[in-house]
């Protein structure tokens, strides 16, 4: 196991950043997914959408150049690149729901071998609400879940989610610090593994059933 959580997050973000092709439209969720933007390879232009109404979102503004009218979906001050634009929430979710966003990257409370996701409520404990997550996972062409492999020692990749769902059967790929899974019609397949992990370690920390791909590769990060 990778005990250093910051290192684990960095591994996940770096791996996901390799997934995108030039000029693809991508929406990164709050938290861990946001880190992905820091690791986009040189030469790949990823167009970032923010569901509050931006295409072409850029990095945080330089000190002294903050504009309180340019925020992202997490209310952080951001910038907009020269090719960027603004729009209202109807256009934003038309883009999201209408399969115009190539990738959405989101975190998870639980994710399961059927590609179902729970990410918005722990009844009786924490009720932040679903925000745009339910639309993003239903509407984006590809859904990538970024998640630490376990939380307080307990697996997050389950046979079946127990918390209320964000959506069912929508996840395409799960990236943890230990490896990469693809959700296939036949079930979960481990397709990449961290060079510092092992299939045994992953089995021991995963509740979901999964097959190991014949083409299992080392996770490139």
């Amino acid at each position: 196991m990778i005990e250093d959580i910051e290192l684990a997050k960095k591994i996940i973000a770096k791996r996901i950043a390799r997934e995108f092709k030039n000029n693809q439209l991508v929406n990164l969720g709050i938290g861990l997914p946001t880190l992905v933007a820091n690791y986009i390879p040189d030469g790949v232009n990823v167009i970032l959408q923010s569901e509050n109404g931006i295409i072409g979102m850029g990095p945080a503004p330089e000190p002294g150049k903050e504009n309180p009218e340019i925020t992202n979906a997490g209310s952080a001050l951001v910038t907009v690149l020269p090719y960027g634009c603004y729009f209202d929430s109807a256009m934003s979710f038309a883009l999201i729901r209408g399969k115009h966003v190539e990738y959405t990257v989101l975190g998870a409370l639980e994710v399961d071998q059927e590609g179902s996701l729970a990410s918005w409520i722990i009844p009786g404990k924490k009720v932040p609400g679903m925000g745009g997550a339910m639309d993003l996972v239903v509407g984006a062409k590809n859904v990538i879940i970024s998640t630490l492999h376990t939380e307080r020692g307990k697996p997050k990749i389950l046979k079946k989610c127990r918390l209320p769902l964000t959506a069912r059967h929508v996840v395409n790929m799960i990236v943890s610090e230990l490896g990469v899974f693809r959700v296939t019609p036949g079930g979960l397949a481990l397709i990449e593994i961290n060079k510092d992990s092992s299939v045994d370690e992953i089995r021991a920390n995963t509740e979901a059933e999964f097959i190991v791909s014949d083409h299992l590769k080392t996770m490139e990060i």
């Binding site: 009218e69 209310s75 209202d88 929430s89 934003s92 729901r97 609400g129 679903m130 925000g131 239903v138």
Partner: protein
Amino acid sequence: MFDKIISRDDFSGMLKDDMVIMVGGFLGCGTPETLIDIIIASAAKNLTLICNDTSFVDRGVGRLVASRQAAKVITSHIGTNPETGRQMVDGTLAVELVPQGTLVERVRCAGAGLGGVLTPTGVGTVVEEGKQKITVDGHEYLLELPLRADLAIISGSTVDKAGNVVYNATTRNFNPLMAMAAPVVVVEAKEVVEIGQIMPELVMTPSPLVTHIFKSEKR
């Protein structure tokens, strides 16, 4: 020709207990803060708020939760305002959580005279409870119904005296949609300009939708 500019007292006089109020903004960006000040200064209570999120205790629509003037909130996210969760748990505030894209379309339906939309969002989740499910071409959808308000308060960046509105950057969000979904629409204008000063292609909310203009008192 147009006479839409109103005072604090004019706006205060429009407020009533039990009103359904739509409030523009996204985590406080693009929210009419002076109008919220006036609601807080008023005695209006038992309000139903329709808003993207409940922002923060000290900024945006969330201040109306903190002031305990809301009896119900219809929104997509309450995670940034601990007061919303607290009142929900103690039973003094009803919270209806709606996926953000569904909230948008429900407001749009009301404004556009549509009876509802079919969305794939929420199928197979608790969101589908109590809703009609309709299958089209083998795909399941939820029938989501219009959301109307008695009053919409929105924030505009540049507003001409006829009521044409331009929203800067990410202040746009729900504002132009809410401007269509209530019979009374008050825009809090950062800047009021003469008619003819706004490029007609740039207008995001056409003037007839805006019933009243209030000049913002914020910087």
